[in-house]
Symmetry: C4
Subunit: 281 residues, 4 copies
């Protein structure tokens, strides 16, 4: 498969998926589970997501008639059933992202199975239906976890970066992410951070270059937003400028990860099934 | 409360507060209190604030007829009574920011009480009056500290980021800050720093995007300056360009944190009182 | 030799070399050889290089009729003989870059010799011919390694930065690199990274300034791309804009490292032979 | 002294000094003196300074008829007498910067005295004359070191940042530096660095803002270049654009640190003599 050979449906030049990792404070709660803190700063900072950020983003998506893919830890679904109901009502995809944003590499097989089941039940409780798509917390997987995910029957995975178009990994359709299309690595500033946030204008400028690149090379533009970060007023406004420019571009297939996974399975089947080959070149 | 439902007075689209954390060298002195250093570099760097930076900023604010909110460690007020008197004379708000910029999480309840009382007395000595607003050093609070602050009778707190409009936390009105509107995370370079300072043009460009966002989403634009950083010539000049563009924008309520807190208490009362819920989702 | 005295052939003002360090996952496999990991994220991220990135870049170079210098670890050549064959077919230079991207400073003399021999055989197997050029993994050399390289008979080295035109170091022609012309220090984001990737527009803007500088001061513009980084769609597109602007600039000698090394040896001989002088000013 | 009260001669609005810290590899040699390394990479990288960078910068200064202040470790003067002779011939100021870039805080009083004497003798050997100006390696001083410097009879110090115009510290005239006008914090990338270099366009844009600020607020624009960093082709070219725009601006006093120190001593005497007041607010 050469660099620009992927065929999108209806002659589209590229596919674009807008996704959110709707974490609320779950990554912080998971990270501090063994060394409890009484500090409020970072907790409140992250709670901005479910309180305001997610509404602002959902309203923005609605105004552009965009259906997105939302990866939601079960604990967040349990805590915000109204937000989840609104997402489903609006036609968005809701998919698994752990229960408390547990890092896959820190779970054994049994624990991962239990987390998946608990996460799925939480999503079902708010009205979503199996089979669910999956995105791993912190975008990390292991060869073992792939086996558990296959056995659990996920619809697809969206955590890896081995291609910039859909592919198959150990029999599972992969709808790949890309670091430079993740808002968090540019915007996340918390006490002790290693860098200051990049300005929205500069971030969006980079994303526009990537979207132009996707059109040129036929790739998948998978954007990932975190409501506690991109839901800040200036960033949401800047994001709107991206949609202003590209939402009505007919050469782009604006869609969801689930639909891309289905398209890939139907069109390409198991062609190019990659294996983990841990430790190999 | 949805993402853009906050109502500002007189049909204003957004509120904008300019604040300074007038620390002088107090954070450095606090941080090195147990491992004294004979180094002069960082001390002189930070002393630029009370010597020049604060005057430059105050003159800038005066030229734009802006009243600001100044958070001043008691030790700085004791050392620079003339600067504090000039601030009060100009109609600026002066509020508590610790005595020696003590981190709240490193104080027990008794120590925090003592620090608050000592800080308040220092501010009273230069002519300010109770009840005082409060901003925690390093913008960090704990559930316990909220109790002490309430008992002490602060007028409001301005340290957290759970919404981008005023809210209530444990009965205290919160006038929230935002990391990306803090000059320090972009401009602070000291030996051993993890990143180079961002250029003034880029920083101001980000802030203008945020102010446009505040107008679009009805939020609070809370800008925070540190005189030893934003008082540098090029940065002050760049800041002036923000005021040039927006100071006379009639859709923005340029005001102080105290006035925003009073407005919120009067208009919204205890609606949406959030609790710390430490360790919960 | 003063700052702008280097003479390029045919009255050219500057020389420009496009090079790739075609590492695939070898640096990661080398770094984790003693603490094996089951994590897939970074492995897949780096495998994007041989799967897609390298093809995208090679097609770009072809479209601009550019012959480049490719530094290829032997293990990557062994794993991707078809890619290597295509490179040679297109007239690109293929040169040594370790077998598994082994850091020279972590090898003793015997080990370095063995690695060089194994690397050379891997390149010969895909059709390349001795003597090979050399670029050290991570651009690090030692005085001892220089002796081994000379004894092994490399055609030139391209790992150091002591001048921005060719020079001689311990009898070996050095075709120097430059940090700010390496894509990795701007684009490489992996979990745990210390900074977010710089946007392609900003990176290319810097490189254009450098190329203008090379024309002004007669220096060598040695660009280095990593397929897993610069092969991402937006970055490849941005790189194209550099070639659009400068590929047909007659004042620039677009060439390969091998040709620059040959030119230097013929024209300057051993003039200005530098010695390591470890520990000396 | 308020924020814009400093009076420059002849009605100038601001003063601008171009300085270089001509370190060569001395900081690296000092830092590794107790853990010798055989690595060549960083050594060669820094040697670019005396080999090419310094010539390129000196030619640039000559083309703009600029006399600068050069701070030169004695070991560098000993190793490059021809460069030093050329500097003096061109009318530049040559001043003390340690012998091997020794950090003042790591020397006791006796050692500092010895270093100063050795440094001065090295500068005299190439033709410079006492009394010398002084800039501390890494821009760090101690209260004790100030005493040694005064006793040694330096003409002025240029290491601190307590004002952005000249002042007096412990009886010594201070010609202050500013971090954001130091090229190193933007351009220095060595293996293990915490951030990628900022592009020349962005750095120069920041400096232009600072120079405009200096004109507005009457301050001293003290630019510091390191030849191994700013001597790279693109950066030198970008620096030229700053001089293109401002060198013939009549409102700016382009001068040397020594002349600014003399002006300050004559005009302001010991007014505003600051004391170290270590550990005090």
């Amino acid at each position: 498969m050469n660099s620009s050979a992927y065929q999108w449906p209806d002659g589209k030049k590229a596919a674009a998926i807008v996704s959110i990792d709707f974490d609320g404070p779950s990554p912080y709660l998971w990270a501090t589970r063994e060394r409890p803190t009484t500090a409020l700063g970072e907790l409140e900072l992250r709670r901005f997501g479910p309180r305001q950020g997610v509404h602002r983003l959902l309203e923005l998506f609605a105004s552009f008639d965009l259906r997105i893919s939302a990866y939601v830890p079960g604990a967040v679904a349990d805590a915000h059933p109204d937000v989840l109901a609104a997402m489903l009502e609006a036609g968005h995809e809701v998919a698994i992202h752990g229960y408390m944003h547990e890092k896959v590499s820190e779970l054994n097989t049994e624990e991962l199975r239990a987390v998946l089941e608990k996460s799925a039940r939480a999503l079902e409780k708010v009205g979503a239906e199996r089979p669910f798509g999956y995105r791993s917390p912190s975008w990390e997987l292991t060869a073992e976890a792939l086996g558990v995910l296959a056995e659990f029957g996920i619809a697809y995975d969206s955590s890896l970066m081995g291609y910039d178009h859909p592919y198959v990994m150990s029999g599972i359709v992969e709808v790949p992410v890309q670091w430079q299309l993740d808002d968090a690595i540019f915007y996340r500033y918390v006490p002790g951070s290693n860098w200051p946030p990049v300005t929205p204008g500069e971030v969006i400028s980079g994303w526009k270059t990537d979207l132009e690149g996707a059109k040129r090379f036929g790739s998948l533009f998978m954007l990932t937003m975190h409501p506690w970060l991109s839901g800040r007023a200036g960033r949401t406004l800047a994001l709107a400028s991206l949609f202003d420019e590209y939402r009505s571009d007919d050469s782009i297939w604006w869609t969801t990860a689930r639909e891309v996974a289905e398209y890939h399975r139907l069109t390409y089947g198991d062609m190019h099934d990659e294996q983990p080959r841990i430790g190999e070149i």
